[in-house]
């Protein structure tokens, strides 16, 4: 496939692997966090760890939108669908995330909730148009990549007078989460970040500049293709060897320093910062999420249906929190692959294909049983 195969070329991958192998300092540990679930997935899907020296360790970050959503947020959505009778539209990934009372959106659906899987916010708007007598709520989740499409949906709903449409807003911010990880006392030791791909197309590379400045951690923004990841790792290895800490951009075919200013302006018009937001794993993080501005309040399902968020504790045996902070690996979790599997997930990281546990279970668990 054109424009894709070029970035999955096995020959080039082997070339990059040998460049990394010859450049790493064998006496050194390279602890690199891939922030995004998209990178976690690519690493597992293409078996990239097999191409890396053992002292280059990839640590999965919290950049999986479904994974960081706390139970209380899913509970809100379920309650809207089951008790308030709304049509709840959701991206497919979120459907199987475990919530309170042994429910998930999928299980709520089997109990009669009207839950529809959509591929885009435009589909959700269409559901609202097709059902003028019903309330339609879109479960808006995700980092800066999925926020502009939600903004477009709000603009469209307003322009077309779709008063039966609203959103449950859970949009979160990448730099805030990176700060939370680096600032955590006794947090994970890191030597650098493989920086987000799609998020960076929107926000640009400038928002990462504080990380080298404040924390002396290099950031290399990388695309989601396997060769992107390999090249970014090589660039990080070189920065670390040379004692540099800079923001570098491997994903130049899509990311600029400024990012997509049009999308940023649209998001800024419709959303404002929340004072704080509960993340699974990271806890309450100040200024880390968005809500609708007062001018768009009528599209806010939390207000419209008086459905406030209540914090709910995670399952005690589940290590999603420590895994999302990079402190533990999925294999360190007692219930990984036994009580918690993709078919019967206990924690959110076992649900989405971008989740560290699901990726490890689906693609890489042979390494655990072999070793």
């Amino acid at each position: 496939m054109k424009f894709v195969d070029e970035f999955r070329d096995g020959e080039l991958a082997r070339g990059l692997a040998s460049a990394i192998a010859s450049d790493v300092d064998s006496g050194k540990e390279y602890r690199l966090m891939e922030f995004c679930g998209g990178h976690t997935h690519a690493i597992s899907r293409y078996g990239l760890t097999d191409l890396l020296p053992t002292n280059v360790r990839m640590i999965h970050g919290p950049g999986c939108p479904v994974c960081v959503l706390p139970i209380g947020r899913i509970d809100q959505a379920i309650s809207l669908a089951l008790e308030k009778g709304v049509i709840l539209c959701s991206y497919g990934d979120t459907l199987r995330v475990p919530a309170s009372n042994a429910l998930s959106l999928l299980k709520a659906k089997s109990r009669g909730a009207d839950i529809r899987m959509v591929y885009s916010t435009l589909d959700a708007l269409q559901v609202a148009r097709d059902n003028p007598t019903r309330e339609v709520v879109f479960l808006a989740i995700g980092f800066e990549t999925t926020t502009p499409p939600t903004a477009v949906a709000i603009k469209t709903a307003q322009a077309q007078g779709l008063n039966n449409f609203s959103i449950l807003c859970n949009h979160v911010l990448t730099p805030a989460a990176m700060h939370a990880i680096l600032a955590a006392p006794n947090g994970v030791a890191l030597d650098g970040f493989v920086g987000p791909a799609h998020v960076s197309t929107v926000i640009g590379s400038a928002p990462y500049e504080p990380f080298p400045a404040q924390y002396k951690k290099p950031v290399v923004i990388a695309g989601f293709e396997p060769l992107d990841v390999m090249q970014a790792i090589h660039m990080l290895v070189l920065q670390i060897n040379e004692g540099r800490a800079e923001v570098e951009n491997e994903f130049t075919r899509a990311v600029t320093r400024e990012g997509n200013t049009k999308a940023q302006a649209l998001v800024n018009d419709i959303f404002e910062l929340r004072d704080a937001f509960d993340w699974r794993g990271l806890g309450s993080v100040p200024l880390s999420a968005l809500r609708l501005r007062p001018a768009y309040q009528q599209f806010d399902a939390e207000t419209k249906f008086n459905q406030p968020y209540h914090a709910v504790a995670d399952n005690k045996a589940c290590e999603c929190g420590t895994i999302l902070r990079g402190e533990k690996h999925p294999r360190d979790c007692k219930i990984f692959g036994t009580a918690c599997t993709p078919d019967n997930p206990v924690g959110s990281c076992m649900v989405s294909s971008e989740g560290a546990c699901a990726a490890h279970y689906t693609y890489g668990r042979f390494r655990v049983v072999a070793g």
């Binding site: 496939m1 999955r8 991958a13 899907r45 293409y46 199987r96 999928l106 689906t362 693609y363």
Partner: protein, 349 residues
């Protein structure tokens, strides 16, 4: 003066008529639907007996019976419809057992309000598939449920076949060292359905691979009777089928990603929708597991048949106490090819 001919019955309205509850009630309306629609298309001496069941000649040898329900949405898709799919699906289940399919039965669950014109198209397509395959639908049943209790039409078919002499095929027969082959490009059926559902338009539209495979399988078994396993890789795709075989046979597998045939459009559509072709359903592809020394002959025989031109050898059976299907990726790393969890593609067949 009455000008209507004696014994004249006004035919059912195949242009604008719709299924109503009387079509399943056992009265005249049902009899008329059966004779003017089902029997008209599917006619054969057994069906013409018009009894509660079909009386069939005794077959020599061991029998194979397979049954399959079809609930695909949409009912019409590029390359086929629920009618031909319901014939192919069951014939293939019989054929991969190593049997020659002889007869089919069909039962229809119709939703009140379903256009008779659509039903007519579906049954015509079913009849064509059955004629092309040389396997008649010998008996059937029709039920009608109220509007909203079904989705247009559901079709269950059952196939009866007679097992070929000297053939012993089972998912439990895969042995360490065996070769794994696939009869062509994977993922076409599932992505044809998805592209309609999601309104994806490609320069070259994706067409379902739905086809009756007993002809190709027959030729293959004539040539190489000692195959170990045959499976049609339907729901859950290649991945599910290989995992099933690993568990049944107590073995592992190692695939080569670069050898697995996928058409560029299917690959692109999967990329767009975040799907993996390994998990996408096929309706006209078989997986073959055979001793390594027979692999070249199997490949040549498949490639000689129009439905197997793009057959490939994709991997090997290996020893693995955990029964993992592993794959060497194009990048040179390894990964598991796991069962799919959940269902990203409901009602694919």
């Amino acid at each position: 003066m009455n000008t209507v001919k004696a014994n004249y019955v006004r035919p059912i309205d195949l242009r604008n008529g719709r299924v109503d509850l009387s079509h399943g009630a056992g009265g005249r309306a049902m009899a008329q639907l059966i004779s003017e629609l089902f029997a008209r298309h599917l006619h054969n001496p057994y069906l013409a007996q018009g009894d509660d069941g079909a009386a069939l000649p005794a077959a020599a040898g061991r029998l194979v019976l397979a049954t399959d329900a079809h609930v695909v949405s949409p009912l019409f898709f590029p390359g086929g419809d629920i009618g031909c799919l319901s014939v192919h699906g069951t014939l293939n289940d019989v054929a991969v057992m190593g049997a020659t399919p002889l007869y089919l039965t069909a039962s229809f669950i119709l939703e009140e309000g379903f256009p008779l014109a659509d039903l007519d198209r579906i049954v015509a397509s079913m009849a064509k598939a059955s004629r092309d395959a040389g396997v008649p639908v010998v008996t059937g049943d029709t039920k009608v449920v109220e509007r909203g209790k079904a989705d247009g039409v559901f079709i269950s078919t059952t196939g009866l076949g007679v097992l070929r002499e000297g053939v012993s095929l089972s998912g439990a027969n895969a042995q360490v060292g065996d070769a794994i082959l696939v009869s062509g490009r994977i993922g076409d059926h599932g992505m044809a359905i998805m592209s309609v559902r999601e309104g994806l338009a490609f320069d070259a539209p994706i067409v379902s691979d739905t086809a009756a495979l007993h002809g190709m399988i027959g030729e293959l078994l004539d040539e190489v009777p000692n195959l170990h396993t045959l499976r049609d890789a339907t729901r859950g795709g290649l991945a599910a089928t290989l995992n099933e075989i690993c568990h049944q046979s107590g073995v592992g597998m190692m695939l080569e990603e670069s050898r697995i045939p996928v058409s560029p459009t299917v690959e692109a559509a999967c990329e767009l929708l975040g799907l993996d072709p390994l998990f996408v359903a096929n309706e006209g592809k078989i997986l073959i597991i055979c001793p390594q020394e027979d692999a070249e002959r199997v490949l040549a025989c498949l490639q000689n048949h129009p439905l197997g031109r793009e057959a490939c050898m994709i991997g090997k059976v290996c020893a693995d106490p955990h029964h993992f299907v592993q794959m060497r990726t194009g990048m040179g790393g390894s990964r598991i090819v796991d069962w799919m969890s959940g269902d990203q593609l409901p009602r694919i067949c």
